[in-house]
Each structure stands twice: as C-alpha cells, then as structure tokens.
C-alpha cells in the first residue's frame, strides 16, 4: 500500500529506534504525551513501546472524542431515538459505548432502529431512503471530522432534506491540551502533536505551547516511522534546549491548514460557551454547536432533549487516566469490573481509548516480553 508500507519498513524502523536510543540521555526520564487517540492506537497496534528505550515514557492524552463524551449525551440522543420514527445513525466507534440504559447496540437488540454509518453522507442517504423516518446522525470527533459534518449540513440545507438532523458532539483539541498543561499533576517534556486534526487547523494553533509553555511539539503521522521520527525530532529539540512547533507529517499536513474546511465549519458551527468533557469537567469554548441558520438540522433544536447529566461511578478513574495521571492498569476497575466486553467507562470501549488499547494489546504481555524472541 503506497504511502503506508514505506512507513512500516522494518529496517528503517530499527534504524530510527537506534537513533532514539542514541539521543535519549541515559540519566534522563522523558515524558512525552501523544494527544491523539489515533496515535495511542497506533503505538499499541505496532508494538512501538517494545522498540523504545525504557527511559522514554509515552503518556496517553485525552484526544479520544468517544472517551471524553459524557454519558448523558448518549442518553440524550438515545432518548430522542426511542421514537419508532427515528433512526439513530452513528459511526461504529459509538455502537458499544454504554449509556445509562445500555449501548446503542443493546438498544438495537431491544428494537430501536440503530444503523452504523461510515460517513455522514451515509446518514443523508439513509434519510433519503427512509422518507417516513427521521435520521438522527450522532456526530462526534475533533476538527478532523467536523468539516465533513459541516459539508453534510450544508448539503442537507441546499437539498431541502427535512427528515435529517445532526446531534453534534464535536470538540476542539486546543482546550484539551490547555487542560492538560494546566493540570498541576502533569510533568511533560513534549508533545507528539495531532496529525489529522492538523490537516484542518494547521500547525499555528500549537505555537503557544512552544512559546508560552516552552514545550516542543511535533505534528505527527500515524505510521510507525512517523511516530519514531517525531520522537527523534522531539529528543533533538530537547537536547538543544529548543521548544518549537515542527511538522513531521508534511506529506499530508499543510502548515496553514485547510481553508475550505475551516470555512465550512465557520458557516455551520459556532463555539459553545462551555461543554462538559468526561473526566476533565466543564471547559469553556471547547465544543461546537450548530448555528441558528441550520437550526432545522440541529437535533438539539428540533427535539426536546432531557439534558441528562450523568456522573461516572466514583470508582471509575476515567478522568485521571484521560489526563495521563494514572496508567490504565492503575484504575481500580481495570480488567475486573471494567473490560472491553463490560466497559464501565468509554476509555474501555473506544478502540483508541487508552484502557481498551492497553487491555487489548498489552496487559497480558507485560511480564512476558522478556521471554519472547524476535520474529523469524
């Protein structure tokens, strides 16, 4: 696969790993945060921790939009969808996320019309194919996905599609990074910066991290060589005492971002004054709501929503794991009450949630890596 396989070349990976070992000063302990859930997933999927020296610690950040979604929002959407004339449409990632009375898939088993879509365009297609029903598209994601929802809203309006609305849970990445840096328990040396969010917002929005917080940040791709190269770049900056924004993912990320995408978002969305993030609390100016000009396609304006606030069970330590203060295995419920099959918190359901990633790919191998030889 072009633009994929080259960046998985085993020889180059070994080379990059050696360079990292060379750059990492033995007496130092480096704490690097990958903000984006996609990076968390990639790190585990490619087993990259196995090739890093022990004094480089990767801390998982809160960039998992499913993980930070408060349970009350799922309940709200499912309560609208309880009406037999409503079709609940969402990405696969959402289907097993637990609401108070079960996940969307469990609701489907009890008779709710729940459909998996692979694109917001599919949700429009569903609406056209089911004129007697109303399609509620449950939109989640950071700025990577928001522009696609924006174009979809614009299309719904221009085509006069009336049986379609978006339940918008889009959030923005910068406030999440700010919340991490403001957290008193955090000591970080640098950031592996979001890759695909940056194709939309560009690299400028991270400049305050370098200037004001004096932390290096490297915008990073998702293949093993991207991650390792970004770590090389971070270590090089740290060695030189530098703190700047660098773009490792140049082949895809334009420094200025995607103007057309930003325009579409400005046309259809505005910032909510505040929004609750699971585990992080209320953050101002951190989430998008649909503009009044598109009220007809805003589920929250079309329907009455209960606005339920659901607090997480006290024992669940989702917030601390989200912020990187705790490792997944340190949460009291991890692996016992909370597993991918019976998730208590969203970090265990979302495939990029640190708990699920750790559980699925890692936890049984922790003690065993020493016994394992290399691949034949």
């Amino acid at each position: 696969m072009k633009y994929v396989d080259e960046f998985r070349d085993p020889e180059l990976i070994t080379k990059a790993a050696e360079e990292i070992k060379r750059l990492a000063e033995p007496k130092k302990h480096y704490r690097l945060m990958e903000v984006c859930g996609g990076h968390t997933h990639a790190i585990y999927r490619f087993g990259l921790k196995d090739v890093l020296p022990p004094n480089i610690e990767l801390i998982h950040g809160p960039g998992c939009p499913v993980c930070v979604l408060p349970m009350g929002r799922i309940d709200d959407a499912l309560s609208i969808s309880a009406d037999p004339h409503v079709i609940f449409a969402a990405f696969g990632d959402m289907m097993r996320v637990p609401g108070t009375n079960g996940s969307p898939l469990e609701h489907k088993a009890r008779g709710m019309d729940v459909r998996i879509v692979y694109s917001p365009s599919d949700a429009i297609k569903l609406a056209k194919m089911n004129p007697q029903k109303h399609v509620l598209f449950f939109a989640i994601g950071f700025e990577t996905t928001a522009p696609s929802t924006a174009l979809t809203l614009m299309r719904a309006k221009s085509e006069g599609l009336h049986n379609f609305s978006v339940f918008c849970n889009h959030v923005t990445i910068i406030p999440a990074i700010r919340a991490i840096l403001d957290s008193p328990d955090m000591r970080l040396d640098g950031f592996i910066g979001p890759g695909h969010v940056s194709t939309v917002i560009g690299c400028r929005p991270y400049e305050w991290i370098a200037k004001n917080e004096r932390k290096p940040i490297v915008v990073c791709g998702f293949e093993p060589l991207d991650l390792l190269q970004s770590i090389v770049m971070l270590l090089t900056q740290l060695q030189k005492g530098e703190a700047k924004v660098e773009n490792q993912y140049k082949r895809v990320v334009p420094w200025e971002g995607n103007r057309a995408a930003l325009r579409a978002m400005a046309e259809t969305f505005q910032l909510r004054p505040y929004f609750e993030w699971r585990g992080l609390g209320f953050i101002s100016q951190s989430a998008l709501r649909i503009r009044d000009e598109y009220a007809e396609w805003d589920s929250e304006q079309r329907f009455h929503i209960p606005g339920i606030r659901v607090t997480d069970p006290k024992a669940a330590q989702c917030g601390e794991v989200l912020k990187g203060v705790l490792k997944p295995a340190q949460c009291k419920l991890f692996g016992k009450e909370c597993t991918p099959e019976n998730p208590v918190g969203a970090l265990m359901v979302s495939s990029e949630g640190s708990c699920a990633a750790y559980y699925n790919y890692e936890h049984r191998k922790a003690a065993l890596v020493a016994n394992i030889g290399s691949a034949a």
Partner: protein, 97 residues
C-alpha cells in the same frame, strides 16, 4: 478521530466534480472532494480519506524527502565515528572520546 487512509483518485464523477472514485489497493471507494475545493485534485492524485471525505492531497515530494531523512538517520554520526576510527586526531583529543 484519526483513521485516515491514502488513496488514489481513479475517476471524477462526470455529473458531480466533488465526487470521486478512489482506489486503495484494489478497493474502490466513493469519496467527497468538497473539502479540497480550493485546490481540486485530479485523476491520478493521491488524497487522504477520512469518513468518506478527502482531507488533503498527499505530497509525493514531501514523502520522498521524509524517506530520505529516515534513511540517513544516524549516518552523520556514523560518519563521525568513522573519521575518529582513522586515528587522525591529536593524542589529547582521543582521550576525550
């Protein structure tokens, strides 16, 4: 929110310039080009696909440059080691290495 895959545009729809057929190792997917309207790609271009939308054009030049940088990793250090190995420094420098 990050699963995005590179694909090659094989056909732009004749009735809709924002709709394209993209090939990913033999899988063909319909993709919306609306986000790239400021710099529309053409057939043969590679784009990054996320939830059925093209997010960005992939720059072959930058990809090649990245590969070159990766291939050269450690080489400047290796060159230094090699020179040291030739024993060309003064005796007092050798003690420092």
């Amino acid at each position: 929110m990050c699963l995005a895959i590179p694909g090659k545009i094989v056909e732009i729809a004749s009735d809709n310039p924002h709709s394209a057929l993209v090939d990913v190792v033999g899988m063909r997917r319909k993709v919306d080009l609306g986000l790239l309207q400021d710099d529309m790609p053409v057939s043969g271009d590679w784009v990054l696909i996320h939830v059925g939308f093209a997010m960005s054009k992939i720059s072959e030049v930058d990809a090649i440059e990245q590969m070159r940088t990766l291939e050269m990793l450690g080489e400047s250090e290796a060159a230094v080691q090699e020179v040291r190995g030739y024993g060309l420094e003064e005796p007092q420098d050798q003690q420092a290495s």
